[in-house]
Symmetry: C2
Subunit: 426 residues, 2 copies
Amino acid sequence: MLTEEEKQYALKKYVEFLQHPSISATGEGIRETASWLKEFMEELGIKATIEETGGHPVVYGEANNGGDKTLLVYNHYDVQPVDPLNEWKYPPFSAIIENGHIYGRGASDNKGVLIARLIAFSKYKGNLSFKFLVEGEEEIGSVNLPNYVERKKPKADAVIMEGAGLDTKGRPMIVLGVKGLLYVQLTVRTASKDIHSSNAPIVYNPVWELIKILNEIYDGERVKLKGFYNDIEPLSDEMKELLAKLDIDMEELRKSLGAYKLKGNIREIYIEPTCNIDGIYSGYIGKGSKTIVPAYAFAKIDFRLVPNQDPKKVFSSLLEVVKDRAEVEVFGMEKPVRTSPNAKVVKAMINSAKKVYSLDPVVIPNSAGTQPMGVFYDLGIREIVSAIGVGTPSSNAHAPNENVKLENFYKAIEHAYEFFNEYSSV
Amino acid sequence: MLTEEEKQYALKKYVEFLQHPSISATGEGIRETASWLKEFMEELGIKATIEETGGHPVVYGEANNGGDKTLLVYNHYDVQPVDPLNEWKYPPFSAIIENGHIYGRGASDNKGVLIARLIAFSKYKGNLSFKFLVEGEEEIGSVNLPNYVERKKPKADAVIMEGAGLDTKGRPMIVLGVKGLLYVQLTVRTASKDIHSSNAPIVYNPVWELIKILNEIYDGERVKLKGFYNDIEPLSDEMKELLAKLDIDMEELRKSLGAYKLKGNIREIYIEPTCNIDGIYSGYIGKGSKTIVPAYAFAKIDFRLVPNQDPKKVFSSLLEVVKDRAEVEVFGMEKPVRTSPNAKVVKAMINSAKKVYSLDPVVIPNSAGTQPMGVFYDLGIREIVSAIGVGTPSSNAHAPNENVKLENFYKAIEHAYEFFNEYSSV
């Protein structure tokens, strides 16, 4: 159990971290936050360095405790953009505490998690060695991480990724894999300037042209790209069993997400690949009316992929459809991964979770979201798990009023501490 | 011919008018501009009043010269919004003059036209009586004009509408009718907040839902609304003849519009109804990537209608498609109209144009754009023509860097003056 003093120190560092903006999409505050983090890690006795990647730097740290096992702790210090700003009840980087919750961009995803692990590390007295790899580009698809990891080749027996947090019933989630990702922007340009819409019979409208392409990518139900579903790995019996155990209350989940209606089955969140439009823009979007044929239109699209889909193959199929009809920019490409439920790191994680939460954890074959597990898998590491988080479905990750219940933050410190001990001894 | 002094006075008032922002979509500067205009009209000896409409006011003026004919001069003092602001080389309300061109929002559409007519009026010495009806909502679909005109019932023998300007070859255009308009915004809401896109398998994406609706409205070539093409009035032989005479250089037009490619035939601009997307928005549209399922999506759509399509019927068919899947806002509904080529006002317009420009004017059955001719037609007036403009296809109406060649502005003053004389004597 944490002392009051330990809690106060942990909270102080959490607030400081949240008050450092670090928006990877725009670059705002990235370098300053990396420096702050390096200093904090040094304060805890970790040998830390800021390492260049060609993009936003990695904060890398090592602590050799003399044992024969090394745990690599992966996190990210960057956060999502904050818009729509007017929907925040407190400024997104103010770290205001209200009713036992802390509010701020990154509170849940994933500054709280990193602080919890670092505080737990500082309490840990065993002989497990640590490597901390904290990147600054997770929210923009970890663009430079694969090259960085390939060059650095950090040796480790197991990896713990950014944690999945708690489900609607407060049970800790242990996630054995990740979905992959392909994030692209398609831009159609039909003119050098907006044109009076009286010319619509003779000029091409970029939105209609974009919609034609989008209709060829997705039919409203299924992705239409060539071979998209072909490589999907069938679920193993163990995985099917894990999924069958899921007993998420859909109505509760719906409310916490703020969705008016849900579709499908909760299992699909883990096993169904998607084609999602994150944003679309063209022409006049202010108040009232303006009669123009816009000069250009764009859409931002993410494909979430399941094992064994290959983002590179999906991208090729996409290019075959788009041809020269749109400009294509890639903002992220990540491999899907699934780790065996029998791995040591998984067992240690389950045991420590039971101890701290007095509840059976929820074990999931892979996350609904994406984390760059693939780069560690490619190093030959087969013990990779995503767990120890601070958020819940109502934490508003990626949305306004992101928040974390402080109780969950303190629990995460305990969980990390117990896990380090369990894992050293298995 | 205008004296230097007359030109200077006209230009001074033109600059002043342009320096008054009057964006009907947002309301910016509307009341101030209406006051300025009323004072200017009074300065010229017109009995002017500001009349409430329930929206932006009408500036209404009368000048009784004792003859047996009254001409109603219709214009508007409002302008389109100015975005994208960063594409303007001068601030949109600076009225900068460079190389014999004046730059500013409204220069062509249609502040220059109104100034030209008012200056011509002040020179006119005949017995034709005038009514000036200058509205402030033309660019947002003349929402309150029908009710205003129906209440006011201004008597007149003929109406001249906002002028069509000059074609790519510098020939004055005389337009005998207008396309109709239906302008709507469709908004699809699927959640109360943006949701992390890892939930895409179980939540509805508002963009895909919006696209489903858009696909039911338009197939990329033709409007799919029920009965949309049924009421279209067949072209009369006279109208076919007018269209056959059109000899617009498509390549020149393409360049001046800034379009990369044109489709169809120039005649379609006058006889083909359209479904155009003026703007679309959803989710994250900043730099880089953000992985969300947006909470809502909207599209602004204008339908341009040809005689005898009825905007109310089109709207009903639209609602049948949309059902309860989107919120529908209406920003404009205008009837299409075509006046006979044998009307007196048309003959006077053609004769005066020939005199001033020493070129045969281009006579067109109806405009490609929309003006609220329908409300005057509904009063029983059958002599309605749109002519005497200052713009050309490269004037960038509705786009950044709207501009007018000063020479064309002065010519328009002369044309209006000659027209007043011609029309009094036919």
